[in-house]
Symmetry: D2
Subunit: 139 residues, 4 copies
């Protein structure tokens, strides 16, 4: 996904002081996590023991939707609102944490859950790091 960085670099509005490296990484993580959670939800459905995995399907679907919305908000650099960016990043970090917790609990049984937990933890960290940058801390 080198295109994420290329598109940021060609955006006429600039980044308004936001750390380009952390922003680019967070968008990439959100896009990848949304995709991985969509795949994990469906892989859980195909397991014989699907009845034990409904909580995992649920948190996967929530996380996929919130990550996709967050990626889109972060991708837009025109006329945005720092409060919205912060609030959606916080929601994304919470959703990633919840999904990682559930997926980790059967990561030793289902390889797709292990991969998904990794993607969620990585995305959670990227959201937290972006939230700690000065331009997003300020109101």
């Amino acid at each position: 996904m080198t295109t994420v960085r290329d598109m940021l670099a060609t955006h006429p509005a600039g980044l308004g002081g936001v750390d380009r490296e952390k922003l680019g990484r967070c968008i990439e993580e959100c896009v990848a996590c949304a995709q991985t959670c969509t795949a994990c939800a469906d892989a859980c459905l195909a397991e014989e023991m699907v009845g034990d995995l409904v909580r995992c399907v649920r948190t996967d679907l929530d996380c996929a939707g919130i990550c996709a919305a967050t990626a889109a908000v972060l991708t837009r650099r025109t006329g945005g609102d720092a409060d919205v960016t912060r609030a959606v990043l916080q929601a994304c970090a919470v959703a990633c944490k919840a999904c990682a917790d559930v997926c980790e609990s059967h990561a030793d049984v289902h390889e797709h859950c292990r991969l998904c937990a990794e993607a969620c933890r990585s995305c959670e960290r990227a959201c937290d790091e972006l939230l700690r940058t000065p331009d997003l801390r300020a109101g």
Copy 2:
């Protein structure tokens, strides 16, 4: 959208103590607000003075995406996580407020912005009310 309430009523998992009326109303508001913001973004694009409305298009698109993700989280009643529900409701309220503020500022010139500001305020209120219910306040 009476189907929102009908689908909640036939869900085998029950609502786990969440206020059915407030939940149903919040889902309906999120669905309607996502749709209205999508329409307002496009109506702004068609205005001759689109150059003055880019901030409105932006907040419309952010709000549409966050409302849609929130509606889906609220609609799911199986194995969810109260922290995720709360965080996404908070993000939704913030996005609705931001979009309503921008749309209201030219509500007297563009009827689509006036209607959109109304939908956003109404959705913001529904999110705030649902956030104040005991089962969502608790951790």
Copy 3:
């Protein structure tokens, strides 16, 4: 969802010859069907016999995603492409038919599937009717 019609009425671009009544109805059906399919997927997950319903969850999720994308394309009236509108309407009709077929097969056991099959059939019809209007038939 009277707002769908109100927003169409206030759009500065006009409808370019598309039948307003059929367009408005199709948008409403797509929005409602996306929401109902999201709810049915989750209700299936909460059933004890979820193992027998995985095909239903799958067609629900596909249908929800395609209906949401279709609603957004139809809602936009600015600078669109008739080929895209037609192709996404065709995909939407196919997805609604597939989901209705699956949901109907256990509509007598699960009330949420009965309601979902109804929403899908109704949306399929609205897509087919819009596809038959002259401005969408033409290239």
Copy 4:
């Protein structure tokens, strides 16, 4: 996005005869194209000559939504319907072609449009190739 391939490899349902390489590539292209179109729509909004780019914003947003829905359908391997897969792939190819045509027309002026046209052409080709595989041709 190596995770796309890893998640396909760990899916318990297998690929049912679909070409793994072409499927994986098509999912990756759809995910990347959705992201690039979202970025291009916003970059167009930030251009001084936004009034000349409204058609581009429109086709970008349509393409982003259809690519995202297509990526999700292709990612799910459980209990799917070949008719739905084919129909959404066809819609995706049409949307990518329409967006590439518009973006190419000012690729020499706006670098973000040049990159977006490339992503759309690449995704269109991946959809067409997947559509030509035997398991998707059959009904």
